[in-house]
């Protein structure tokens, strides 16, 4: 059984960010970008899926057919960490500072995530709290506020902000920390409104809160260290 909605979503995630990125200087650079970003996406998917299965159903870790059903769950943040680690390794291999390459890829990555969230429209509809001004998810009777679409719009804003700060000379590591903090905050806030079973925070909500705290603390720490270094250099 082919999951048309999910396949279409992945195709859009791969295509749209490239539409909104200006032309790259050489074909070699384009290949390097696809190799790095595509590899990060694949590694992230594999690690995220393995983590999800390890937590929810460890007995399925040895069954390839179970592992391949990504619709059943992919842990987001372990996937992001794995993707970033892949990019860092590739950067070392190419003799480039990992933070430099990670910072250059933050905005396209945020746009890619925004695209995935927005494609809830063609998967099952975008669930959220009941609302008269919302959309009607596939097969449901009531209208719901499309939280995924709102999160996507906010993520595009975050991508524009990080690119702006990057171009104005914010240190690479700080750009990465800022992007992670913004993404974690968006996911945390979206989790408040997304439907869930029972009471209490979902796992995705808890991990997003943890990442928001760590990334924000890192952002502040990098800023303080950078200012100290600048002050020392000026003396």
């Amino acid at each position: 059984m082919i999951d048309v909605g999910l396949l279409a979503s992945i195709a859009i995630v791969l295509i749209v960010p490239s539409v909104f990125v200006p032309p790259w200087p050489t074909s070699a650079a384009v290949m390097g970008l696809f190799e790095t970003a595509g590899g990060a996406l694949m590694i992230g998917l594999v690690v995220g899926r393995l983590t999800s299965v390890a937590i929810d159903d460890p007995g399925s870790l040895t069954r390839i057919s179970d592992l391949m059903i990504i619709r059943s769950g992919v842990e987001f943040w372990p996937g992001v960490v794995a993707g970033m680690a892949w990019i860092a390794l590739r950067s070392n291999h190419d003799h480039i500072a990992p933070a430099q390459r990670l910072a250059a890829l933050t905005a396209p990555a945020l746009v890619a995530w925004a695209c995935f969230e927005a494609t809830c429209l063609i998967r099952d509809g975008c669930p959220g709290p009941l609302s008269n001004v919302g959309l009607r998810p596939d097969g449901l009777v009531q209208r719901m506020l499309p939280v995924g679409v709102l999160a996507a719009a906010t993520a595009v804003g975050a991508a524009i902000a990080t690119r702006h700060f990057h171009r104005r000379g914010m240190p690479n590591a700080q750009v990465v920390a800022l992007a992670l903090a913004l993404l974690a905050v968006i996911r945390s806030v979206a989790s408040i409104w997304l439907p869930r079973i029972g009471e209490g925070l979902t796992r995705q909500h808890k991990t997003s809160l943890a990442v928001a705290v760590i990334a924000s603390a890192s952002f502040v720490a990098i800023r303080v260290l950078d200012r100290r270094a600048t002050a020392l250099a000026e003396r």
Partner: protein, 187 residues
């Protein structure tokens, strides 16, 4: 590789515009293909004499007519019917979700599992593995899945309190999807 390779060039080119045009066209085709998927068939409506619900946590064998009778007997309560099998991978993910839903919302919605295309012993072991406590029936002849028009495992049928089939979800359930269904039933 130097930094320039990961920084976009400022000057736009004709090939760049052509790429954007082709990519936009591809997205339009993909979206068009996805949104024109056929809607799920909601014509099924249970009929017959009302029958009592099987015991929770048991795996009772029922014919299709008896199963329809159970659904008729549940009119007045929203019902989620989940067709599963022990060999079905997505069923392993959604069964704990259904169990959580049953424990949290069992007083407002009925959940009935239908084990089909499977050996009874394997279905029973699957229920024990996941500690299933909601009612389940065993569809040994395949009549129930045929009557509901099953297209693939797992499939979840959502019935409103008035007995009408509101939606059919083919494939694995996610927590968000299931919670949205519950919200919809409550609203």
């Amino acid at each position: 590789m130097d930094n320039e390779q990961f920084e976009p060039a400022v000057q736009s080119t004709r090939s760049g515009r052509r790429t954007k045009l082709l990519a936009s066209a591809a997205v339009l085709v993909i979206v068009g293909f996805a949104v024109t998927r056929p809607a799920s068939d909601t014509s099924f409506r249970a009929s017959g004499e009302p029958l009592a619900l099987p015991e929770a946590a048991e795996l009772t064998e029922l014919s299709a007519d008896q199963f329809e009778g159970v659904l008729v007997g549940l009119h007045g309560t929203p019902v989620i019917v989940n067709i599963w099998a022990s060999w079905c991978s997505p069923c392993r993910t959604e069964t704990p979700l259904l169990e959580r839903t049953w424990r949290a919302h069992g007083d407002e919605v009925m959940i009935i599992g239908v084990a089909s295309k499977d050996a009874a012993s394997r279905s029973r072991a699957f229920m024990d593995e996941f500690g299933v406590s909601f009612p389940n029936v065993f569809d040994s002849s395949g009549e129930i899945r045929a009557r509901l028009g099953l297209r693939g495992f797992p499939t979840t049928y959502v019935f409103g309190a008035n007995g009408e089939l509101r939606t059919t979800i083919v494939g694995g359930l996610t927590e968000q999807r299931l919670a949205a269904v519950l919200e919809d039933l409550r609203g």
